[in-house]
Symmetry: C3
Subunit: 277 residues, 3 copies
């Protein structure tokens, strides 16, 4: 979607995403481990408010913004319901970035959108903390591995090479098109209560120029057929409207209101999208 | 209020304030854009918990602490209900700092308290991301402009000069004094539930030395006439008291309790303040 | 518990823990003061979600992770119900780290676990902000003192030396052992709703190898006698199980569920722990 080309920074950047919340000290401890290994790291929090163990949601949030991070950024991502089980810990070099975390589908969008240059199982314990717990791989494996990548350790030193085809993927529901109709769903509700669908804006270039556009939410038969190019366009009339979200997907919003709450809709809600030229 | 003189730091500092919350990846993406342009930036989060689109609240929170930031700090502030409409995007050099954001009154306290050295409309797209969305100017305009300012780009390069008189201002309700009585209001409820009024401590230098001081909240006729110079002064008696808040304003608190909840009061609640010498 | 040896970093590190929440600008202002004094500081947030004025909880959260921070890290900790009263402001050099905050027991676990090399009352106002408020010592005293320590100022320059024996301590409830039975309690509920007890894993090395282990929660007589070495071991059967938490203590959890809510238990809940070889 974006044509933004991020720069290559001279300072290593590590971006962290977890489902830990900010109520505990776990995120801070991961940063402490990273800084202990690569002191000059610039650490950026993606978010730590992924709903606990919600891998699909985490995958989506990561996919939303990773392209804006500088080339070479190491993403350390921990949404990991299988911690301590046989699920693998991995590092993947895809596009211009590195991704470190559990092999549970958290990077599915990345695999779909970027060329995978290499992938390894994190089998080389020389790059882990000396003592690895059964429940906190974020601190003991992912943070130190991310810090070593950030200081320039090569991917292949981190462990055994892995066939990119074997990487775990979750099913990322694509919308289905039947002529002028698209069967789609709500992917996500943002902070403002906007309903973000799984319809890429790039697939509907005539969203604002066509004669008529209509979304019908199937669970409650609510019809939305107004369009706004930006939120402050038109009066505050408390009517939902279709807009192009900055994530690159079609959205439904209320100006100065919460569309999800007003319409009683949330992630997964099915909808049909019709466009009349 | 404060006589603290911040130092000039050799490392660029960008401070960010938004109403995005921390549940999404938007704040992280803004930081990624900044670091991509000016890698050595020291980024400080002011807060991202401004209630959505509440410009007066955001203006107040910003005014509370900006003086403590190093000289040259660039404040990137996004509380922007008018994003995508005709409201201007601006950068202002005021006092020892730079302020970047929408021209909607978010910087009203700054304009009232500091000398404005220059202001521009952000019309030079060379300092924006290549592709500007209609809904996320924080990422596409304000973050990159802030990063360019932080690396030393001159204000006038960012766009067309603007008459400081033309900058949008919100009405910042001042208290009104009638002899020994001040008609005022609750400006703000802090994390601890303390009620912070709009009466500057500097206007009541005899707050603790005068014979009697009394606040009457007009909506429920609650009278508060105890005073404490600090929270732990006196017994835990569950009685509200008047204190001098570190923000520089008169406050009302309960020791180990939540005054706002106990008294059923919030922002905007009218009050009279009486002082007897 | 951990045998991790943190490195010594060339860049100063300051870690901050408060009960301020992230809704206000107070944490940002503390960082601004630190960066103004020591611009190259790497600042790490431990957490700012300590329940307001809950010193025992703050002490516990700090104890959980400080060992993972680089040697020389300065911890600036503000959970301070007595701010402005006669409680002292202190800095302590213990183990490989420095601790700055109120003398109210917040560092009790540190004192119990590390050698105290020195302690001072922060009586030298040359290292404070020029104007010290009665209610925000985090900004006016602790942040600047922490920044000066981080840039290399010696501990003894900060104020009058203090006998380590005189430092305030809170009672850190240890479990009591009677043969194979341990009388203990819930110390803490983590983000996932796991109940973390005050029984160190090091005191029950046979937790997973013994024939039978049983926890009885005394308030509701709930018995937990399943054990899991990691969360994803065994089926999702909605039954609570005993596990070894990464904090180094025995915990009780539900896979994909919230044990605290399901069992109706919280911090302080008494329990007995029985182990049969």
């Amino acid at each position: 979607m974006s044509q933004y080309t991020p720069s290559t920074t001279p300072r290593p950047v590590v971006a962290i995403m977890t489902d830990f919340g900010l109520g505990e000290s776990d995120v801070g401890v991961m940063k402490a481990v990273i800084i202990g290994i690569t002191p000059e790291t610039q650490i950026i929090d993606i978010t730590h408010a992924i709903p606990p163990q919600n891998v699909p949601y985490g995958a989506w949030v990561l996919s939303y913004g990773y392209r804006y991070y500088p080339k070479g950024t190491v993403f350390v991502c921990v949404v990991d319901p299988g911690v301590g089980s046989s699920r693998s810990a991995i590092a993947v070099h895809a596009g211009d970035w590195y991704f470190v975390g559990p092999d549970n589908g958290l990077f599915s969008y990345i695999y779909a959108q970027q060329t995978i240059h290499g992938a390894v199982v994190l089998s080389n314990s020389a790059f882990h903390l000396p003592q690895v717990s059964a429940t906190f791989h974020g601190r003991d494996i992912f943070a130190p591995v991310g810090a070593h990548l950030a200081r320039g350790v090569a991917l292949h030193e981190l462990g055994t090479s892995l066939d990119p085809q074997a990487l775990q993927r979750i099913y990322v529901q694509p919308p289905e098109r039947y002529g002028s109709r698209i069967d789609a769903q709500v992917l996500y509700v943002d902070t403002f209560g906007n309903l973000i669908t799984n319809i890429p804006l790039s697939t509907v270039p005539d969203l604002f120029s066509s004669k008529h556009v209509q979304i019908v939410f199937l669970t409650n038969q609510v019809v939305v057929d107004r369009r706004r190019r930006f939120f402050a366009e038109g009066p505050v009339d408390n009517q939902p409207f279709i807009f192009g979200d900055s994530s690159g997907y079609v959205g439904v919003a209320l100006q100065n209101g919460n569309a999800a709450r007003s319409l009683g809709l949330g992630p997964g809600a099915p909808l049909t999208f019709d466009i009349t030229e």
